[in-house]
Structures are given as structure tokens and as C-alpha cells.
Amino acid sequence: MKTTKQERYLFHDMQKHPENYSAEHTEAMMDMLDETPNVELAWHRFESKHNHTSIFVRLPWMRQVAVLAVGLLLSGVVYAISVAVGWLPNIFAENKTQVQTATTDTLTPQASASTQDEETEVRTFDNVPLIDILDEMAESYGVKVAFDNDDVQNVRLYYQWDRSTSLDDNIAMLNAFKHIHIELQDNLLTVK
């Protein structure tokens, strides 16, 4: 919170002339200065400023589900409006046959949306399970993947993979995520 000039002046005056202020005023000022900051919030601010990875995965899973549900709902509403006003074609009307013949695989939620910028060699994994990210990276760097901890296989991440960076650098970036600990030894990536 940004303070006003007057507040700052009061603080400096209280330091310069403590004898001019009552014990009550002084104690109130000390309590304010000793207020415990929200370290978690400060870390998230710092991290979002310096990390290209999303803080989404750090949310409790129920909140992740809620965020995804709201996101899907909103995109559905936006799509419906766009179809109604004629900005977008109605893909459901045109592809009815395809939906009827679709396999069960296509009915499972496919939140993953990975894109690749050919020019910058940056591949963006948007809400993709860790196992898929590591499989793709392992293939590219010529190593194998093993999961000691199966629980994290399906943790979904937003991650920007710059193919021009080393595998070690990418492991360091991924290890910055909570609950993810990857080690590379003898061409084997082990997720602990």
C-alpha cells in the first residue's frame, strides 16, 4: 500500500521527536511497522514477475477445478454469443456425424492446448500433464523417463519449453514447481 506524504512525514517526525508523541500513538505505530506481511502473497508476486511458469498449478486442486470450470463456462458463453451473432460457424451443427462416430477417447476432457512457435523454438504446454511434457522433452533430448512418484504424473502444468535451452536448465525450471522433483542421471529422468 502506497503511503501519503503526510503519513510519511508523521513517521519521520515520530522518529525524530519521539518525546512529542503519546505512548498510545507510538505503540500504534510500532504495531503497524511490525505487522507480519503475507509472505505467500509476496512470493507469488515475485514469482509471477520473474517466472514464466504459471502459478495456476500452485492452487489447491479444488480451486484448479473451479477455475477450469469457470473458464470453460465463459468460453462456452462467448462461443454461443459469437455463433448467435454470426461471427463464428456452428461447428456442432456441421459435424454432427463426426460426433456420433467419435471414440470414447474424444469424450474425455482435453484441456491440453500446446502450441509451438516454429521461429522461436518455444513450445507452450498449456495445462498439459507432466508425463506428456516429459515424454516429449525426453524424446527430444534423447533420454528416458521414470516416475518414482506416480501421484505427480498427471499434474497439469503451464510450461514454456525453449528447445534451445539445455535439459538441465529445463529440469531446474520444472523443479521450481511445488511437489515436482526431477533428477537426471545416466540419461534417465527420474521424477521423485
Binding site: F11, P18, T26, M30, D34, P37, A42, W43, N51
Partner: protein
């Protein structure tokens, strides 16, 4: 320094560093910026810290950065040019190294202890009062006195 290491240091030391910054700068946002800048420097730089030196390094850094900000404010208030400010910056590091010497030479034994309790260990006013067996208001007066002494000596034109 590795990101994971930065996160550990941040979570472990942020609250105390922020407290020191607020004692000198008062402004919450400015204090947050100072502490974040220190971790940013660690993240982007090549500094390696030994575990035993971590806390001392971080607390000294926050104290020094706050004094630098106060110095910049002073220069701005006196309408000195930016070039002058940059030139003064070179002398600033030496000046900051002298603060501890000044504390030892010019402050009473009790104020030296209080200085370290607040600015090296990041203790709260209440913790210092308990440790010294004096009232919180007395702690405030001691800290105010020692800050005034430091400012008058090193930054005579600061508010």
C-alpha cells in the same frame, strides 16, 4: 542462484527483511520493492551464499538498500543532478560499510545491542523489549535515537 533456493530463502527471511525495510522507509510498497530487488539480484546474479552467511547477507543488503534509497531521496530533494547521484553511488558502498563502525564507536552498549536485534536479527519491537527488559516505547526511543544519529552523520539532509 537456483530458483528453488531463492524460494527457500524468500520464505525463510522475507518477513524479517520487510520489517527492517519498514523501520527505515515506512512505506509498505517501497519496503516490498526493496526486498524483492534483493532476491531479484540473487536470482539473476552469480552470488553464492554459504548457509551460515545467508541471514547476515540478506539483512545487511536490505539495510544498505534502504539507506541508499534514503540517500537518493536526499539528493533529489536537494535538486542535485542524476550524474551527481551516480557519482555519489560509487562512494555509497564505502559509506555503508562504515555504518557498523559508526554504531560501535558512537552508540551505547545497549543501543548497539538494540541495533543488531532490530537490523541484523530482524526482531520485533516487542521481542527487543522482552530481551532488554524495557518497555516497547523505550525501544522505540532507542531505535529512533540511533537512526537519527546514523542519518545525521551519514545523511545530514535527509528528513
Amino acid at each position: 542462484m537456483k530458483r528453488k533456493e531463492i524460494e527457500r530463502l524468500f520464505r525463510q527471511h522475507y518477513a524479517k527483511m520487510y520489517r527492517v525495510a519498514r523501520t527505515l522507509l515506512y512505506d509498505g510498497q517501497e519496503s516490498e520493492d526493496v526486498v524483492s530487488d534483493i532476491f531479484e539480484n540473487l536470482l539473476n546474479g552469480k552470488t553464492v551464499l554459504l548457509p551460515k552467511d545467508e541471514e547476515a547477507y540478506l539483512m545487511t543488503s536490505v539495510r544498505n538498500m534502504c539507506f541508499k534509497r534514503l540517500r537518493h531521496e536526499e539528493v533529489k530533494r536537494n535538486s542535485q543532478s542524476l550524474i551527481a547521484m551516480e557519482q555519489e553511488d560509487e562512494d555509497e558502498d564505502e559509506r555503508l560499510a562504515d555504518i557498523i563502525e559508526f554504531v560501535v564507536a558512537h552508540l551505547s552498549a545497549q543501543e548497539q545491542r538494540i541495533f543488531h536485534l532490530r537490523f541484523t536479527d530482524g526482531n520485533s519491537y516487542e521481542e527487543i523489549a522482552l530481551s532488554e527488559g524495557i518497555s516497547k516505547v523505550a525501544v522505540w526511543k532507542h531505535i529512533s535515537h540511533l537512526i537519527n544519529e546514523i542519518k545525521n552523520h551519514f545523511y545530514p539532509h535527509t528528513l
